[in-house]
């Protein structure tokens, strides 16, 4: 059964259905979108049930010839890593639709367009993680930009078009670098027994170390732009600032994960040697991102920008975990991707509700919300706690795994990174104090608390954040085999305890 293709088709079908719905009936449109995303989520979970945890091979594999002239296939398949990310995406989609019920108003275009874009985007989100053919991946990787571009530019706020353009150009540039590498790979594969884009075949290619390094850079820079790594991050704050909260969630929560996902799936598997060569540099960049992102978050006066910078710090952790080349670091990083999706979603959605109610995203404009809108304040606080990785919440597990995993091989990096944890407390508690605590400042007296829809939307996220904090095993059991497989393929083994041990 072609699970993945079906998964990818469902949103498209939904989009088509919405396209033929009457323009007038916006409510119906929204309901259709919500229904579609819910169906996709259900299907994904149904698929996940059948996933064999300990099988490190790709599962649910599909392969059809697409462009034989170039040896390009429509090839899908998932391992633990992909499954987790697809799950995250498909769970986030309905949440975003429900949470951003009114985001589509006040856009340049109709409500219909908004949801069509969202659904098209969802298809691509699934496809980009499921693709096992490099060309297919690249196609989706690039095509994804377009709906997001229109979502930001069409439905965002403030300098939306400028931000959208910046985002698009930045990403396109990275994509083109990657294209150069892909072309090179294609040619090399042609020279070594037949053109192919099949990951497994590409990973066996013989390359001189210089070639490998160059091609690696092509890929890595593209991914480093996506998963904003210092110093390629400057597009993110602007984009996040202009996009609607829902879009931001998909942007930071899912699209940016494509970057870190790509680092694992493509950089590491295709260019093991180069990965090792560049690890020191990348780790330094990651650590810088962690600290830099955190400090800049502290320095922000705008809530959306603040959240964006916290994400830069978090992506630093993820990248560090990936390149620590230990099973803990790797599993931690993967789990981190999942958790970050939800904690950022929580921050952006609740923050978004606050901002839409207050009509401003300046932190200074809020004050004393805890008295006025207790539930909303609590949700924001909880989201913040998850963002600063409070033990007992899901993000703690992943962050700590990353740190421990890094420490065993790169103690210095881990130690510096740990300071980011303290900074995290600052960048969360400062807005919490300014916005939620203190006396209620003028302009906030009349704010309304979360309504039922919003409560329903945020509930699952919070449930995931808390439950996974105490019981992450279900995910870890899926992630571990994949992670350790990658590590093993790279020829790494976890450092053994330096002195004795059990």
């Amino acid at each position: 059964m072609m699970w993945l293709t079906i998964l990818m088709l469902l949103p498209i079908v939904g989009a088509g259905a919405i396209a033929i719905l009457p323009k007038k009936n916006e409510k119906l449109t929204k309901q259709a979108a919500l229904a579609t995303t819910l169906i996709v989520m259900a299907t994904t979970m149904a698929m996940a049930r059948g996933f064999e945890r300990d099988n490190v091979e790709l599962q649910y594999v599909e392969k059809y010839s697409w462009i034989p002239a170039f040896g390009i296939n429509y090839a899908l398949g998932i391992d633990g890593l992909a499954l987790v990310l697809i799950l995250m995406s498909t769970i986030l989609a309905p949440v975003v639709v429900l949470a951003g019920w009114n985001e589509s108003h006040g856009g340049r275009w109709s409500v219909k367009t908004f949801y069509i874009l969202i659904l098209v985007l969802e298809t691509m989100m699934i496809g980009v993680f499921a693709a096992t053919d490099l060309f297919l991946f690249y196609v989706i990787f690039e095509a994804m930009l377009i709906p997001v571009y229109f979502l930001i530019g069409g439905y965002g706020t403030g300098e939306r078009s400028a931000a959208a353009v910046k985002f698009l150009i930045y990403s396109l540039f990275g994509g083109l670098l990657m294209l150069a590498s892909i072309i090179a790979l294609y040619v090399i594969s042609g020279a070594q027994g037949g053109h192919s884009f099949d990951l497994t075949q590409l990973s066996d290619l013989e390359m001189s170390s210089t070639t490998q390094n160059l091609l690696f850079l092509g890929f890595f820079i593209a991914f480093a732009i996506k998963a904003p790594l210092w110093p390629l991050h400057t597009w993110l704050p602007d984009a996040a600032h202009s996009a609607t909260p829902g879009t931001s969630v998909l942007l930071l929560g899912v699209l940016d994960k494509v970057g870190t996902f790509g680092m694992i799936r493509y950089c590491l598997t295709l260019f093991p040697e180069a990965s090792k060569t560049f690890t020191p540099l990348i780790l330094v960049l990651a650590v810088i991102s962690i600290i830099y992102g955190a400090i800049l978050a502290i320095g922000q006066r705008d809530l959306k920008r603040l959240i964006a910078f916290t994400s830069i710090s978090h992506f630093g952790f993820i990248t560090m975990g990936i390149f620590a080349m230990t099973s803990q670091g790797h599993s931690g990083a993967t789990l981190y991707m999942f958790n970050h999706g939800f904690s950022t979603a929580a921050l952006f959605l609740v923050g978004g509700w606050m901002m839409t109610r207050r009509g401003s995203s300046k932190i200074a404009d809020f004050g004393g919300l805890q008295r006025i809108t207790p539930v909303m304040a609590w949700m924001f606080f909880l989201a913040g706690m998850s963002s600063l990785a409070l033990p007992g919440l899901s993000s703690f597990v992943s962050e700590f795994l990353v740190l421990v995993g890094t420490f065993t091989r790169y103690p210095v990096h881990a130690v510096i990174a740990t300071f980011g944890v303290v900074l995290a407390a600052l960048y969360i508690l400062i807005p919490v104090q300014k916005a939620l605590h203190g006396p209620t400042t003028p302009g906030n007296e009349a704010l309304s608390d979360l309504n039922l829809r919003e409560k329903i939307a945020i509930a699952p996220i919070m449930a995931i954040i808390i439950s996974l904090g105490f019981y992450p095993s279900p995910l870890l059991n899926v992630i571990n085999p994949a992670a350790s497989h990658v590590i093993a393929q790279l020829g790494f083994t976890d450092p053994v305890p330096t002195s004795g041990g059990k």
Partner: protein
């Protein structure tokens, strides 16, 4: 080790309470506080039950554990959500739940007028649960969860009235400084895993002897940092004073009896590490000694009754840390002082709360005076606590504190003499400032505002105070009688060789009492004879001024960390905008510029186009020519 299935309920009950109260929201305003108190009490009785079971077993069999589920497992990094109840943790369980329950009861009355009382009780329950997890966790990572959990609870409770900006700031400060300490804990865990491949107490205990001293010292120091954060020890002590922003029951429970003593627990629990890492141990002692005096000195200058008590807490915990730093000989006494302190300090805080209750929340002792007639019960209970903390026999403090002083002297060599005299001095200063508190508050002439109508608190408030007072009278004797506690705990620690006594116990006690007497005397002369003026005198010695400002601790932090931090932040924000983002835009702009300038070639004159073609032709020929050669 025996396993049990019941341990989890110790935590689950109060946690459930917190969850219910928070989720039910206003609906549970009516009965929320009762439920919370009930659950806390239930947890206490469960603890007693476990104790009875434990007493029924041979000392080797006493520790019991419970594996709930596999929490984190990646590669060799395997952490179970496991609980461990042994002779050490049971003490804490009982202290936490016992004192906790008492304070729950107290709060019912104390918070009765507060609209958010339900939320308050939810937090209290949450704190109890977190604190229990802290002492029951069977690995450093599980402990870590509780560790930050109590941090969160303390943040929430300090900032319970966070509509007051100052209070909100105080809570933030507490959380941040705790986080700094927590870093130490995570480092400790990382080093432990990297060197021994495990982070469970049993695992590390087993692996400790094959482990290099360097690593152990590293772990030890990191644990010490963690302890200083949580227990407000030097150099991370600055938050405790401000933490008094929280409602008084909180100060009593969290910032006197239980949470702040977590550091002592951590060090005692990690005895197998510190015993093998003398350097770390020495540092522990030093930290303890410094804080002991530090707190005491601050205490002498505070007019805010709660801050004075807070300072004294700091100093008393200094005693405990110091004791814990003395190794096997000290652990038991550290714990003993911890327990007794739990009683009398909590009692005194509740007393202070009762006073404030009667003086419509006035905290400035200079605005008190002569309250003993108006609130006799408070006076008596507070007084008993006072005697206890002074270490007047036979009150609790006498046993616990003297033991510590004694062991300090016996630490041997110059070290022993220094530590001994420090502890003695501390005792003296303690006597001075506590007497000062007593005099300013209860005796002398009344210096209240006209609005104040002092009155005794309702029974729901004084009953707990009474119970604690009983504790502060008896607990010392009970615990030390026949070294009860020491024997009880001994299986956990390396048995220590009996070493030389510098001074016989009786001499130590005598010395201690004399110093106490001196302290009391000075206080009397200074405050009782010559009355006290309602406003703090400004013409005071520089020493006093410094002491009033908490020995400049905040100034120091501000100058050394905050200011540079703010500068760095704003600088980086600029850099990001101007340099990094500027570079990006610069590229775009330069492309535009080049385009615009090349555009000039297209001047519209056909002849220049032709010229361009001709030049191109020549260039082409030239190129081909060059290549051909």
């Amino acid at each position: 080790m025996m396993t049990s299935t019941g341990l989890v309920y110790l935590i689950a009950l109060p946690l459930a309470g917190a969850a219910i109260l928070l989720l039910a929201g206003r609906r549970s305003d009516k009965w929320g506080h009762l439920l919370a108190t009930g659950l806390s009490a239930a947890s206490f009785f469960l603890g007693l039950y476990q104790l009875s079971l434990m007493l029924g077993r041979s000392s080797a069999q006493r520790p019991i554990g419970q594996k709930l589920f596999e929490w984190i497992s990646v590669g060799t990094f395997k952490i179970d959500a496991g609980l461990l109840l042994d002779q050490l943790s049971i003490c804490f369980v009982l202290l936490i739940t016992g004192v906790g329950t008492i304070i729950h009861i107290y709060s019912i009355a104390y918070m009765s007028h507060d609209l958010d009382r339900r939320r308050f009780f939810a937090f209290l329950n949450f704190f109890i649960a977190a604190m229990l997890l802290l002492v029951l966790g069977d690995s450093y990572l599980n402990l870590y969860v509780g560790w930050e959990g109590v941090g969160l609870a303390s943040y929430l409770l300090i900032g319970f009235w966070n509509q007051k900006p100052a209070y909100a700031t105080a809570s933030k400060k507490a959380f941040i400084m705790n986080r700094v300490g927590d870093m130490g804990l995570s480092f400790a865990v990382m080093i432990a895993f990297a060197t021994m491949g495990t982070v469970s107490f049993s695992g590390i205990k087993a692996a400790a002897e094959q482990t290099s001293t360097a690593a152990l010292t590293g772990i030890g120091i990191m644990l010490l940092i963690a302890a200083t954060g949580k227990s407000a020890q030097f150099p991370l002590q600055a938050w405790l004073g401000d933490a008094m922003a929280g409602p008084t029951p909180v100060s009593a429970l969290i910032h006197a009896a239980t949470m702040v003593t977590a550091g002592v627990y951590l060090i005692t629990r990690s005895n197998f590490i510190f015993d093998a890492a003398p350097t770390a141990q020495l540092l522990v002692v030093i930290v303890g000694a410094i804080t002991l005096l530090f707190g005491a000195l601050i205490g002498t200058a505070k007019d805010d009754i709660k801050k004075a008590l807070a300072a004294s807490t700091m100093s008393q915990i200094g005693y405990m840390i110091l004791a814990a730093g003395l190794g096997p000989v000290g652990y038991a006494f550290a714990i003993m002082h911890l327990l007794t302190h739990g009683f009398f300090k909590a009692g005194m805080f509740l007393g202070a709360g009762s006073v404030m209750h009667g003086m419509n929340d006035e905290v400035n002792m200079r605005k008190y005076g002569a309250l003993r007639k108006f609130m006799p019960i408070t006076f008596i209970t507070f007084g008993l606590g006072y005697l206890a903390i002074l270490g007047v026999p036979p009150f609790a403090g006498f046993y616990s504190k003297d033991m510590i002083i004694e062991t300090a002297f016996n630490a041997g060599g110059i070290k022993g003499i220094i530590l001994g005299s420090v502890t003695l001095l501390g005792a003296g200063i303690t006597a001075f400032y506590m007497t000062r508190v007593m005099i300013l508050t209860f005796t002398g002439t009344s210096r209240w505002d006209e609005k104040a109508h002092p009155h005794e608190s309702p029974w729901l408030m004084w009953l707990p105070m009474a119970i604690l007072a009983v504790g502060s009278v008896t607990s010392g004797y009970l615990l030390s009688n026949g070294d009860a506690l020491a024997h009880w705990l001994s299986p956990l620690f390396e048995s220590h060789e009996e070493h030389h006594e510098l001074l016989p116990p009786i001499v130590v006690s005598a010395l201690a009492l004399t110093l106490v007497a001196i302290g009391v005397a000075i206080a009397f002369l200074k405050y009782s004879r010559s009355g006290v003026d309602a406003v703090a005198p400004s013409d005071v010695s520089i020493l006093t001024t410094i002491a009033r400002q908490d020995l400049m601790q905040d100034r120091f932090n501000e100058v050394v960390f905050m200011r540079p931090g703010q500068v760095l932040t704003s600088a980086l924000v600029k850099t990001d905008e101007v340099i990094i983002d500027g570079a990006v835009h610069g590229v775009a702009r330069s492309a535009l510029g080049v385009g615009a300038s090349l555009r000039g070639l297209q001047n519209g004159f056909v002849r220049s186009y032709a010229a361009l073609i001709l030049i191109g032709a020549l260039a082409l020929i030239a190129a081909i020519w060059v290549v051909a050669q």
